[in-house]
């Protein structure tokens, strides 16, 4: 029984943590929050140069060729330090879709550019919930027309992978007929843009196996992303709980440290418990992802639901337990409150993933 990461994997995590502690500071995140930067460039360059972002991309495509367990730990640190970078868009989603369903030529052309940080990629692979818009995307086999309303990192991306009906479509965003418009967002540290396409050249990702359709590939990529995002969520949740704990030891009221009141102690114990349950589900998801186990859909959904819950609760209660000061712009509590919401909705809400988990469990019991 060894339900833990290896020492080498932990060393990589420590290196990433040290780097992020220096670069992904509250000040750096606020540059993006307040619209002075599209992302934290120094953080992004470091993640690329360390081979951390491209940990799971094979060496033949310019990646570090380490694996998903390593990428999971990178994700945990990115979440912990609120890294304002296109890690999920480029690496958990777009690169994974190309790896799983792209042609050799597409992989050779795009993956080294993503791995090397030459371009940012984004993706919208579909979710069970959506806003009812009148004009969905249309793909005619060669060009793409329509609007993708909320692409994360859409303002800076050079490439997009989009789910259009029964296709996964690869679009070079430098191509003709692309227009972008920034969209105001509830978590400005992860900016959104609406992308409009007017007969923009695009190509299909021909799934490696002809029998594998876009829905199956998308589901598989989203399962992997669910696990990786769960690590970000667990990292962020643990960080805000620590900050809340530390503040409760500093702040005094009624003649005592507020952290000595059982009402606060018990609330923090409950948050800790929720985070640790999410953590083990995320670890189990990491195991399933890295070993391509048949348990992946179940493990990914469990990680997604528990980690979404844990981060949302830790962020909400983090503000409440801080009291009034937690409601100010200057404190970082709201950065977690916003990020928990962003991560929790990025690939569909917890409700959709809970339904997916139930589907898997009931199928298994039959």
């Amino acid at each position: 029984m060894n339900f833990d990461f290896s020492d080498d994997q932990r060393l990589l995590q420590d290196a990433v943590r040290t780097m992020l502690a220096d670069t992904s500071t509250s000040q750096a995140v606020r540059e993006v929050l307040e619209g002075r930067a599209s992302h934290s460039e120094a953080v992004w360059l470091n993640l690329i140069e360390m081979g951390a972002a491209a940990a799971a991309i094979p060496e033949q495509y310019g990646g570090a060729g380490l694996g998903y367990l390593e990428l999971c730990l990178v994700a945990e640190e990115a979440g912990r330090h609120l890294a304002a970078v296109p890690l999920s868009s480029s690496f958990y989603l777009a690169a994974e879709a190309i790896l799983r369903a792209g042609s050799d030529a597409q992989k050779q052309r795009w993956l080294p550019k993503i791995a090397g940080g030459e371009l940012v990629a984004t993706a919208a692979l579909g979710s069970r919930e959506r806003y009812r818009t009148p004009a969905p995307l249309a793909f005619d086999g060669a060009t793409l027309t329509g609007t993708s309303p909320a692409l994360v990192d859409g303002g800076i991306a050079g490439l997009a992978v989009l789910r259009v009906a029964d296709d996964l479509v690869l679009v070079d965003l430098a191509g003709a007929g692309v227009s972008r418009r920034p969209v105001p967002t509830l978590d400005p540290t992860r900016p959104l843009a609406a992308l409009h396409f007017d007969r923009t050249p695009a190509e299909r990702l021909p799934a490696a196996d002809a029998a594998t359709n876009a829905a199956t590939v998308a589901a598989r990529v989203l399962d992997g992303a669910a696990v990786l995002l769960a690590f970000e969520q667990v990292g962020g949740a643990a960080r805000i709980l620590e900050a809340t704990r530390d503040y409760s030891l500093e702040r005094k009221a009624f003649g005592r440290q507020i952290g000595s009141f059982q009402a606060l102690k018990h609330r923090m114990a409950e948050i800790y418990t929720a985070i640790e349950l999410a953590r083990v589900h995320a670890y189990y998801g990491a195991w399933a992802l890295s070993s391509d186990a048949p348990e992946l859909p179940k493990a990914a959904a469990a990680a997604r639901v528990s980690a979404t819950r844990a981060y949302v609760v830790a962020a909400e209660e983090g503000i409440e337990l801080h009291g009034g000061i937690g409601f100010t712009w200057e404190m970082d509590c709201h950065l977690h409150y916003r990020r928990a919401r962003h991560l929790g909705q990025l690939i569909g809400s917890e409700h959709a993933w809970r339904a997916r988990l139930a589907d898997e469990l009931i199928k298994e019991a039959a």
Partner: protein, 409 residues
């Protein structure tokens, strides 16, 4: 990350499995318990026979030193034995206090001749031990015990009452926490003894639990005479002795939650209708099935983290407390939801509603106890807050006051 055994662990597992298959009886259905159809006396005799066989084969106390009658094995071997034994119909709780608390305390604190007297028969199941700490006025606050031991020559005379003693009605010996000095603050005036449960003046009365069962007892002591040689540790050193007893639980990895609860929910939901459709098709039901899985698999995986520590030769930390905190409440919530599946008819007892409801109905009635045994939810949250998160301890107003001056609880 690898859920498989190491080669050494696999070899030990194979050895254990072969022994169990040659000597034990495989479970024929999940809820089969030891000694079904036997009366109490016959079940106890059968349990003792099993324990004797297990001890002779060296599996009764795997982690104990060989000199004390153990195997000198690792904690991981102990875990592997328990995992394998779970597939067999074996006596559950009967010897747990003996092996887990009573005998280790004797091993740590008793004189050599007493160890020679008690350890072997205890391991072999010839004598069974209980633990007598809790009292009506000392539950979570164990330091408040009022059972009085007064020195008289070479003996001590004990008067008082203990409560929530598992198995006292069939036990031969117990470890007994008493107050010997009323002028010292509460935790400093306590002394631990071995008590002969068949001695004159010991009276055991079963507690009728809300579930209808009687697993626990009240134990009354009236002028019970205990020789001073049965004292464990120094006079007024009882608190430290008790902590050493509870430390034995350090290597256990916490609360358990059955791993098939969501399957029970699925099976019952297939038999019920919500809004004239099978309940299993209702999204509210499906969401609760998913939540049940999240809790039980979560507990299982936290335990796997504890086992990983054990496998590496480390002790699991206080973070294992979350397993019991989650398991108790999850049991209650899942069982209650199972009953709700059938609406008004869900109140019909399983004797009339059907045997497949028995498990969840019993779980529902038993779960309030599971949430308290080994520490209430509230005590566990304090443990997590203080020992894991480093938050301040509770304010204690009774720490320096002589016990006799404390307001009686």
């Amino acid at each position: 990350m690898d859920f498989r055994d190491t080669p050494e662990e696999a070899a030990f597992r194979a050895e254990v499995r072969a022994w169990l298959e040659a000597n034990g009886q495989k479970r024929s259905r999940p809820d089969e318990v030891f000694g079904e159809g036997l009366d109490d006396a016959a079940r106890l005799a059968a349990a003792k026979a099993w324990q004797a066989k297990k001890a002779a084969a060296g599996y009764a106390a795997i982690t104990w030193p060989k000199a004390a009658g153990g195997r000198g094995g690792t904690a991981m071997q102990q875990v592997i034995y328990q995992q394998e034994e779970a597939a067999f119909v074996v006596p559950g709780m009967i010897f747990e206090i003996s092996i887990g608390m009573g005998l280790p305390t004797v091993m740590t604190w008793a004189a050599p001749e007493l160890k020679a007297r008690f350890l072997r028969p205890g391991l072999a199941g010839e004598e069974i031990w209980c633990q007598l700490f809790s009292e009506p006025g000392a539950g979570s606050d164990t330091g408040g015990v009022r059972t009085r031991a007064v020195r008289e020559g070479d003996d001590w005379i004990v008067n008082g009452q203990k409560v929530w003693t598992s198995g006292a009605h069939f036990c031969d010996y117990g470890i007994l926490l008493t107050r010997t000095d009323w002028d010292k603050p509460k935790q400093e005036g306590l002394t631990m003894f071995i008590v002969d449960m068949k001695a004159p003046g010991v009276e055991v009365r079963p507690i009728h639990q809300m579930s209808g069962d009687s697993e626990f007892n009240e134990v009354f002591f009236t002028d019970v005479r205990i020789p001073d040689t049965y004292r464990l540790g120094p006079e007024c050193g009882g608190w430290k002795v008790m902590l050493s007893t509870l430390m034995q639980e350090r290597l256990s990895v916490g609360g358990n939650l059955p791993t098939d609860l969501h399957e029970h929910l699925i099976a019952l939901a297939q038999k019920c209708a919500w809004d004239e459709r099978p309940a299993i098709e209702d999204d509210r039901v499906r969401a609760r099935i998913a939540d049940a899985y999240l809790q039980q698999k979560g507990v299982e995986l936290v335990i796997a983290r504890g086992l990983t520590a054990i496998s590496k030769g480390k002790a699991p930390g206080p973070e294992m407390s979350i397993t019991k905190l989650v398991a108790g409440k999850a049991m209650q919530d899942i069982a209650a939801f199972a009953l709700e599946l059938a609406g008004p008819e869900g109140m019909i007892g399983h004797e009339a509603l059907g045997g497949d409801w028995r498990y969840m109905q019993r779980l529902w009635l038993g779960s309030p106890g599971a949430r308290m045994g080994g520490g209430t939810d509230e005590i566990l949250k304090n443990v997590i807050a203080e020992r894991v998160l480093g938050l301040p301890g509770e304010i204690r107003t009774d720490r320096k006051i002589p016990f006799r001056d404390l307001e009686r609880s």
